[in-house]
Amino acid sequence: MNDLQPVLRLEGIVKTFPGVRALDGVSFDLRPGEVHALMGENGAGKSTLMKVLGGVLAPNAGQIYVAEKPVSMTNPQAAKALGVVFIHQELSLAGELSVAENIFLGELPLKSFGRVDWKKLYADTDKILKTLNVSFNARTRVGDLSIANQQMVEIGRALTVDPRAVIFDEPTASLTDAEKVVLFEVIADLQTRGVGIIYISHRMEEIFKITDRISVLRDGQYRGTLNTAETDEDKVTQLMIGRSLDLSRNVSHHEMGDIALEVRGLSCGHLFEDVSFNVRKGEVLGFYGLVGAGRTEIAETIFGLRTPSAGQILLNGQEVQINSPIEAIRLGIALVPEDRKDQGLVLGMNCKDNMTLPQIGRLTKGPFVSDRAELAIFDKYRDKLDIRTPGWRQSVGNLSGGNQQKIVIGKWLSMHPEVLIVDEPTRGIDVGSKSEIHNLIRDLAAQGFAVIVISSEMPEVLHVSDRIVAMFAGRVMREFTSEDVTEDNLIQAISGLTGDKAA
């Protein structure tokens, strides 16, 4: 493979934003038929590099070569015409349109007089969907799809042309294991067709499973390329963050207090039914299940965003009615939501304002907000979570994906809630910060907080939880303690294969 000329080559790419040197002379090459991982901490410049490659951003300096010919990618269409397609980290679909319209957006097949050829559109789309092996069809409204399925639509978009290179920017961040398998099949298929794949992810298992080479960026600089077969996680981590990580399992056995939150027979329509569980002060309760198992909906109900159709919620032994997030927050409940872009952040607002938003009413001195009180909180959590930003004035929308997620986490941690619910807390977060966040969750529990962690990542749930609730299709299938849980029986429980339903 080595003697083939690269499909794509970047040389000395520089990209600066006000106050940030996001890319500092990065070079990189992609061979046909290889899966090339791009790794680096949050804010290292991965997405920026790919945006330059995909024609979304113009570099300040540097040259791109496609099949060794210098090209300039002035817009995404130009890139696509050269066979370079880009699947973004943040989804960018039109929710009101159908799957077919989204996939062929801007290049709908036409008949005479500019009429859309719907028949051809749907047929072409179905052909693409078939290779993706998905359950929805060309006419489904995109807004009705789960995030995972929307991701599939985004991938479908890339397949409308005969691509030379496909860029995946954290494609698996919101996919279930089963969906990942499908994605990897799609990638393997592209590979055999000689397409080069650039694959960005923070998940080491995936990287080692599917990639051929790994290139590492750090603080906007190219740090080197490793052959996947000849390296290991530790070496990659070293290159990424300059030190090794201690990833040993962390079950600090501290005293647990009384039950902080108890849920009895909670139902909400058909979203979830008859759900009962409790979490003690000082305990981390994991919720594991497939996307769509109803875990997020339970969290939203506890947080006052949905009205339960039956059941009770008890806080410190007292039954409570929670009708809105305002009431939930007042009762000391916090929710780090699943979708940071839509639910977690006001993208146009700066970092500090986002972080202090839920408690802004308390941070006043006289009639005015106290800058000092706000900055104290911001500085504390920026350091604690290692948030990379040129300053608190930066718009959150300009931060890298992982750093955005950290702002959301800081926003709720700084509230010192009694019950903290985190829904997919480390989606898109780099390995170093991930273990930081896991430690933070454990620390919070040790300080006596009750924490509920919803996650689709098995290692994460196993790593942080004292107990694990396994859900399937809106029902609690089984509850595990950290002693009796194994990967196998967890997988069984969440796929509905087990009959024994524990109380």
């Binding site: 113009a58 965003l305 809105s324 305002i326 929710l335 009413g361 941070l363 006043t364 926003k411």
Partner: protein
Amino acid sequence: MTVLTRQNLGSFLAKQGILIAFVLFMIGFAMVNQRFIAMDNISGVIRSSAILGVIAIGVTFVVIGGNLDLSVGSMMSFSTIVVLDLHDKIGPGLAIPAMFALTLLLGAFIGFLVGYLKLNSLIVTLGMLSAIHGLTLTWSGGKNMDIADKSGTWFSFFGQDRIMGIPVPILIFALLAAVLAMVLSRTSFGRKVYAVGGNGQAATFSGIPRARIVFMTYLISAFCVAVAGLLQASRSLGSQNTVGQGLELQVLAAVILGGASLLGGSGTVFKTVIGVLILGFIQNGLLLAGLDFYVQYMVTWAIIILAVWLDIAAKRGHLWSPIA
């Protein structure tokens, strides 16, 4: 590299375009007519911009909160007619608070519809524009409203007097701008307005009472309209039923010129004041240049569209872009 420089120039133009256009306008006007930059002309422009400015400050809150208010012009006609009518019936001391109460009631009604019932603000305020016009005509019986004793009332203070040589309307405009600028930029309420307009769902997830915040923005807008009605009535001591007609678009133009996004979540009181002044000076300049009054309408519209275009272009970083 040529591509890059052209792009940089484009994004610079996109960000600063409105200021550049303004400066060019000013230089052009000053060359056509020296009077344009005379001190008394400048003070005159600010003074005649005061009414527009006061309303625009209120509408800034509504727009940042992610909504529109097209009813302000018609609402100001209402305030003006009501305060003039009540002046002779119950005396100015009671007429003013009564007019404020009624105007705030209208604002509360709109705020209820848009905030709590979550109706589309464009439809609601467009409807209210004509409904309030009807209300005004019913109140006045369709006749012009005049104060009987125009020289014997202290009511003329707000629109006609000066304090230390500065016209009272300018003082009120400045005071209101200063206070509301503080409210918007320094209080937790102001922060919540930005959050609700910037991303309503995230605001809800952060425990911000979205409906109440939207409701409050309309109350503020109505309060500003009431102040403007007071200035208008006090200046002329008599009025037609249609004094505020068309004001809503000028207000919107000023707010957008100031850089507030119609999508909500951005803008400041200070920038709106700049927008108001830009609009005032351009209209004044057109008059001094000898153009007819009604040319203003066309030019104002051209400016609005230019401003909206630049607003979007600034977000994209390109003046023109094939992608959305």
